[in-house]
């Protein structure tokens, strides 16, 4: 027997067993991977590449760099110029470029690019370009005579920065930074629209998550403790909204909550409010919160239900028999066991709420808009790079939450129905 242990184990055709096993395992791995490969390629082409392109777009904008070659060349040669007092050659290059923009009709594109960091530049560029052909040296004096803003250090900083196609400027703008005469600085408190909207989106999402949890908990508990026949019947109430078109649900909330809607009619009918005191619950933040809570509620009920269903009732009975009150039993014995479900449901609802677009767009009015709606707004105004930068920031926060979800709960636990 001692000899046998030294001898190498082989397969029937004489190969070492270890190598044969490794080869077989590698083959099995390859086979499994080959099955997934077509889908991976498809997702790469239609999902990853588009998102990658969007992120690339958030770092680039050639609106100014492509339409002002003379000034771009000058900035390249003089990287350390003083923006407070650029020399005559710089102005000469600028006037030359402005004249070219006028003939190429690129004034708008170039002005828009600078306008992101230094507001008010589009009209300045248009005016400058119209006059550029008639200006005579010294260009510094003649251009400043057209508009004194041409001497602003902030503008020169903006142009120097925009002469590079690749820039992180859009992320600065999307974080409410502005370019002033001394460089980038945070905007005034009342100008911080982007971070404020991010904050508001997270706050509204948190409120919706909390409301969903509040409504879902008793229902999930009821479904989990009822006999199977009854609970599958009641489950239809949860699953039907899940299967119904989002636009249908949004439409019905408009019918229910608008000023001439059913809820207001009902309240007026029973005399709770007067006809002139109709509540405005639609086209504002209330509308967004109510409609989104309804839309996302099944995503909270289902994970809670699947956790609650497997909690053995004997624990609660044991606690009661040991003298705990019903409240203590709930707080110390039942609730801790539901925590995985609470975490799963809350994270899922929060993630979905943060990126919501349709419901706020339709029922949100002016103050019920979320960050997604701002992205759509900038897309519609052709502010592609800025929209992409805001989307990039939203994506980063979503991926963080997704990673957290995978860590805490595991994505393979995701189920429907």
């Amino acid at each position: 027997m001692a000899e046998a242990t030294n001898e190498l184990l082989t397969t029937a055709d004489g190969r070492p067993l270890k190598a044969a096993l490794q080869a077989a395992q590698a083959r099995a791995k390859r086979r499994a991977f080959l099955l997934v490969l077509p889908l991976l390629l498809f997702v790469l082409l239609t999902f990853l590449i588009p998102i990658g392109l969007m992120l690339k777009r958030s770092f680039e904008h050639d609106g100014f760099a492509s339409s002002a070659p003379a000034l771009v060349a000058w900035f390249e040669a003089n990287p350390d110029f003083n923006p407070a007092d650029p020399p005559e050659e710089a102005y000469a290059a600028l006037v030359q470029d402005l004249a070219r923009m006028q003939t190429d009709k690129t004034t708008g594109i170039a002005g828009t690019r600078i306008n992101y960091s230094v507001p008010g530049t589009i009209s300045l560029f248009k005016k400058g370009a119209r006059e550029a052909g008639d200006l005579t040296p010294p260009f510094k004096e003649s251009l400043v005579a057209v508009d004194a803003d041409w001497a602003k250090p902030a503008l020169w900083r903006g142009m120097a920065s925009a002469s590079n196609v690749y820039t992180a400027e859009f992320y600065k703008v999307a974080s409410d930074f502005k370019l002033n005469d001394d460089g980038w600085a945070r905007g005034e408190d009342n100008e911080r629209i982007y971070l404020y909207l991010f904050f508001k989106t997270f706050l509204i999402s948190a409120i919706i998550t909390f409301l969903c949890l509040l409504l879902a908990f008793p229902v999930a508990h009821l479904l989990a403790t009822l006999p199977m026949a009854k609970s599958s019947l009641l489950m239809i109430f949860v699953l039907l909204p899940f299967w119904t078109s989002l636009l249908v649900r949004t439409t019905s909330w408009i019918a229910l909550l608008q000023e001439q809607g059913i809820v207001n009619d009902l309240l007026v009918g029973i005399g709770l409010i007067g006809d002139d005191g109709r509540l405005s619950m639609m086209y504002n933040m209330t509308g967004t919160i109510v409609a989104m809570t309804h839309v996302l509620l099944p995503f909270m009920i289902l994970p809670l239900y699947s956790v609650m269903r497997v909690i053995p009732p004997s624990y609660a009975r044991a606690a009661r028999s040991l003298g705990a009150t019903s409240w203590t039993t709930f707080r110390r014995v039942y609730l801790p066991q539901t925590l995985p479900g609470i975490a799963a449901g809350s994270l899922l609802v929060f993630i979905l709420a943060v990126g919501y677009y349709i419901t706020p767009a339709l029922v949100g009015g002016a103050d019920g808009q979320l960050i997604s709606n701002l992205i759509a707004f900038h897309m519609s105004k052709s502010n592609w790079s800025l929209a992409a930068a805001i989307a990039g920031m939203l994506l980063a926060s979503i991926l963080l939450l997704y990673w957290l979800y995978d860590r805490l709960i595991g994505i393979d636990r995701l189920k429907f129905g």
Binding site: A28, K29, R31, A32, F33, L35, V36, P38, L39, L40, F42, V43, P50, I51, G52, L53, M54, R57, L215, A216, P218, V219, H221, L222, I236, F237, L240, P241, W243, T244, S245, L246, L247, R249, T250, T251, S252, I254, A255, L256, Q260, I262, H294, L297, G355, Y357, A361, S372, I375, A376, W384, A388, A391, L394, L395, L399, Y402, I411, F416, G417
Partner: protein, 323 residues
């Protein structure tokens, strides 16, 4: 949870309150969906119940909004309803066109997502699959990443994804693309986008079915002389079919209900029902939307029943074979 016999009066009160709360939540869930059904029969262009409707006066109800669905966009809506009138409905009516678009886009997106997703799920559920967790996370992410981000990315990419219509490639693939030869503003673009959005659902439902799948059945089939193809169609497929079908239905519903990607990447030729509804709600909201909504609710009830029956069948099958 029945009330135990030792419950105190306070607990009894609390128990009934709890039942009332649950009832109210169920009402909150279901009422907004059911309310559109009676409202869609309104004889007046209002979004609420009129006096006549509340007193069940038959003149308060009408089918006029369902009629609108046929006549909107019709070249001669007032003429006699003969076969030419109906063929004009089929060819020209706005809502009918939207329904046709939605159906075809949904069908192809579902086929694409289901075929690719099922094959991938088979690979993912093999124990020797490398980087399983990472790949799973990637394939589920279209459900997690906000739709607006996907739509923005696709609108950038699809506008660049073009083949010159006069080239050799363009002659072959041109029919699937827009007039300029791009994925943007084409049916193929919308189908591809919707397929990506449906994939997570297929992956989730099919892998869930496969977790209860007894892998030794495959070895048994092999040992009895079946080749991989026979094994797949005769052994694996019948067992995972309920999961595949419910995944496909989820994918179809996702596509059928999707509006954001369509708004960003589609052109005027790809008008779908959700897009038509979205524009309708934004611009001139009319009870015709409620008529569409009622039809959609009916469809979702049918789908729900189908999926529930499939799920029960799947559980029963797995109860026989596994565990």
């Amino acid at each position: 949870m029945a009330l135990p016999t030792y419950a105190s009066p306070l607990e009894r009160i609390w128990y009934y309150t709890y039942l009332v709360i649950c009832g109210l939540v169920f009402l909150f869930l279901i009422a907004p969906i059911l309310i559109v059904v009676p409202l869609s029969f309104n004889a007046e262009p209002y979004f609420t119940f009129t006096e006549k409707m509340l007193s069940f006066d038959p003149t308060g109800y009408s089918l006029r909004w369902y009629d609108t669905l046929l006549t909107l966009g019709h070249p001669a809506p007032e003429t006699v309803r003969d076969s030419t009138w109906w063929s004009a409905v089929w060819e020209r009516a706005t809502w009918v066109q939207a329904a046709k678009n939605s159906f075809w886009v949904g069908l192809w997106a579902t086929i694409l997502a289901t075929v690719l997703g099922t094959i991938a799920a088979l690979g993912l559920s093999r124990p020797e699959m490398p980087y399983r967790r990472l790949i799973m996370a990637l394939l589920i992410s279209p459900m997690i990443v906000p739709i607006i981000i996907i739509a923005v990315g696709m609108s950038f990419f699809f506008a660049q994804a073009c083949i010159a219509p006069d080239s050799a490639m363009g002659a072959v693939f041109g029919v699937f693309l827009s007039e300029k030869g791009c994925l943007a503003n084409s049916h193929l673009g919308v189908i591809v986008a919707h397929a990506v959005l449906g994939i997570p659902f297929v992956i989730i439902t099919v892998t869930a079915t496969l977790t209860g799948f007894d892998q030794s059945l495959i070895r048994a089939a092999h040992s009895l002389g079946a080749n991989p193809r026979t094994t797949f169609f005769k052994v694996i497929m019948p067992l995972i079919l309920p999961g595949v079908i419910s995944g496909a239905l989820f994918a179809f519903v996702t596509s059928f209900d999707e509006v954001v990607a369509v708004l960003f990447i589609a052109g005027p030729d790809q008008q779908t029902i959700p897009r038509q509804m979205f524009n309708g709600i934004r611009e001139a909201i009319s009870p015709a939307i409620l008529a569409v909504a009622t039809i959609l609710v009916l469809i979702s009830v049918l789908l729900l029943v189908t999926v529930e029956l499939l799920r029960r069948r799947s559980d029963r099958l797995r109860g026989v074979t596994g565990r």
